[in-house]
């Protein structure tokens, strides 16, 4: 995102390298409208058949509130986990050479490629009280599948590639020189990481985490199998949308959809603003 805006401003200031700015901007606007804006507008228009009070009644129902809290809360936790461990994975894959590196690198993409329902069924089989991972966890007194923890597990699984794949190119561009310079100037390892490496990675890390978060908020297929789906406990907001549709309550379903869309958009926008702030400070 940062590179795109930089390229854009560079193009407008000097003579554009690629011709046809008007044509490509026109195409971009048309394409975005057809693919993104028109479906979203249809979604935004739907709940108003309920009126403002009906809309609020849907959103303020305790069950809807609980589902929204679960969806956004577990997506945030999963994104945070992916932010930390995704950084470690990306670091390892870029900085070290080891056997089967390409294979391990390819593994990172699997959550992208796997149909989400397959992932969900595999995860719930693994983490069920009698599953390979669920049984030892149950022995420790931890219930994973069919609890909110199960939701976090599924969302962490599907979010990992977003962080790793956004960080990798930035990490390989970073080079070792800056770190070596910091070391010769007497910085400790921690100082080098916190003051040299992390600031350079922060924008990409934030973008990756935001993408993982946005994907996790709306995730349905991989979650419903492992969540348990108990109202007020482990029922995610997208499932509640499906339940409302099954009850022919299209407007109520759209109302929840609008709230999720608005909240996700606000969060991603805030993260982008924060990222821009970091860019400017650098």
């Amino acid at each position: 995102m940062a590179t795109a805006s930089a390229a854009f401003s560079a193009q407008t200031r000097s003579r554009p390298i690629l011709p046809g700015f008007g044509l490509s901007l026109g195409f971009t606007l048309f394409y975005l409208s057809a693919i993104v804006l028109i479906p979203l507008a249809a979604l935004l228009l739907r709940p108003w058949s309920l009126g403002w009070s009906g809309f609020r009644a849907v959103i303020e129902a305790p069950r809807v509130q609980a589902a929204l809290e679960l969806s956004f809360g577990s997506a945030a936790i999963a994104a945070a986990i992916n932010g930390i461990f995704g950084l470690i994975v990306a670091w390892t894959l870029v900085r070290y050479r080891f056997p089967f590196k390409r294979l391990i690198d390819a593994l990172v993409d699997l959550p992208f490629a796997l149909p989400t329902a397959v992932a969900g069924i595999a995860l719930s089989t693994l983490y069920a009280p009698k599953g390979w991972l669920g049984a030892p966890l149950a022995a420790l007194g931890i219930k994973a599948a069919y609890t909110p923890l199960g939701v976090v597990i599924a969302l962490t699984f599907i979010g990992l590639p977003f962080v790793v794949r956004t960080l990798e190119p930035v990490l390989s561009d970073l080079g070792l020189e800056a770190e070596e310079a910091a070391a010769t100037l007497g910085a400790s390892r921690a100082q080098t990481f916190l003051r040299v490496v992390l600031p350079a990675l922060a924008p990409a890390l934030i973008t990756g985490t935001a993408l993982a978060f946005a994907r996790a908020v709306g995730e349905y297929g991989s979650v419903i199998f492992i969540a348990g789906n108990l109202p007020m406990v482990s029922e995610i907001a997208p499932l509640l949308i499906v339940i409302k549709l099954e009850q022919y309550d299209y407007a109520g379903a759209a109302a929840i959809g609008v709230v999720m869309l608005a909240a996700s958009f606000a969060i991603v926008l805030a993260l982008n603003a924060f990222q821009a702030f970091l860019e400017r400070r650098r």
Binding site: R63, A145, F225, N229, L230, M232, I243, E246, D249
Partner: protein, 333 residues
């Protein structure tokens, strides 16, 4: 139009029957009827060919009853619908006006050629000693049933549990509400549909008892070879009535009204009733029922109208937003 129907069926990736059909029917049905209609369709197509000389292809589409009904409302061009409960066909009549609202009067037995009920599937040897509804709420027992808001079968299960608690000696509506609340406190996973619950119970080994359609439970028992599960018949249950209907607007558009009507009437014939009984659906025909009497234990079955009036009332009271099912999950209520 035929092309679109075929495309629709292909998208759902469920198509059976012979090629090069001169006529095509789309039967939109609910989840457990796959095996049943595969056999019924073959029998009817053969009979139709013998009678008229026309080749007939019957495409099937299966899914959760509510989702299927919504698909028809949103434009899936079903010639006939065979769903889990009348409420879902009422929705098609009311919201999309594709068939008259009095559709249930058009065929015998309130348009329900076969019935079923709700039974318990337990693990072999019945280690938890589950014999009746009261045993489901004993300490430590885990009950598997789908979410009644999304699953037709689960709605019948919920209503069966309610009917038991309301109609037992000393029972009342308040007692029934209490019992249902206790029952769902014993449910660790609410899957969206019946097949999901069967997987949770069978594949993942969760729970001590699965509340299920009689036909699904018996099919599971047959496929597992009888050494993993047992079917337990409670002292009372509910008469589950999955109805069938012609979707007039679609059939007229496709010019299939005659064959579609014959298809639905065929479901009441002795030949079809026998297929239904062999797939563990309770036949309506007294002679076929008598021939299969050993397969279907006689337990008292409450009807929906005895206990709940009709589907519109049951839906509004129990399953609509803010209804009893929502209330029992609200803390402090």
């Amino acid at each position: 139009m035929k092309l679109i129907t075929l495309a629709g069926a292909a998208v759902l990736s469920v198509a059976t029957g012979a090629q090069a059909a001169s006529q095509t029917l789309l039967n939109v049905s609910y989840d457990p009827t796959r095996e049943l209609y595969r056999q019924v369709n073959a029998a009817f197509a053969a009979q139709w060919k013998a009678k008229t000389g026309d080749d007939l292809t019957i495409n099937q589409s299966h899914g959760g009853s509510g989702a299927q009904s919504r698909a028809v409302i949103d434009g899936l061009e079903a010639d006939v619908v065979t769903l889990a409960l009348a409420y879902d066909i009422n929705a098609i009549a009311e919201k999309a006006k594709l068939l008259p609202t009095d559709w249930q009067k058009r065929l015998p037995e309130a348009s329900t050629p076969y019935t079923s009920t709700i039974v318990f599937l337990v693990r072999k040897g019945n280690p938890r000693h589950i014999h009746d509804w009261a045993d489901l709420v004993k300490p430590g027992v885990q009950v598997i049933t789908p979410n009644p808001k999304t699953s037709g079968g689960a709605r019948w299960s919920y209503l069966a549990a309610w009917a038991y608690a309301e109609k037992k000696p000393g029972g009342s509506k308040a007692a029934a509400r209490d019992y249902v609340k206790q029952l769902y406190a014993h449910v660790p996973v609410l899957d969206a549909g019946a097949r999901g619950s069967t997987n949770t119970f069978a594949q993942r080994g969760i729970g001590d008892v699965l509340l299920d359609w009689e036909n699904e439970a018996r099919l599971a028992l047959k496929e597992a070879g009888g050494d993993q599960y047992e079917v337990v018949y409670p002292s009372v249950s509910i008469l589950a009535e999955p109805p069938v209907a012609l979707v007039d607007a679609n059939a007229d558009k496709h010019g299939t009204r005659k064959v579609a009507e014959a298809y639905l009437q065929f479901l009441y014939t002795k030949e079809a009733q026998d297929i239904e009984a062999r797939n563990f659906y309770r036949p309506r025909d007294p002679q076929v029922a008598a021939a299969h009497a050993a397969d279907f234990p006689k337990i008292p079955l409450y009807t929906l109208s005895e206990v709940f009036g009709d589907w519109q009332k049951a839906q509004a009271t129990h399953f609509a937003d803010g209804g009893v099912f929502d209330q029992i999950y609200q803390p402090g209520k």
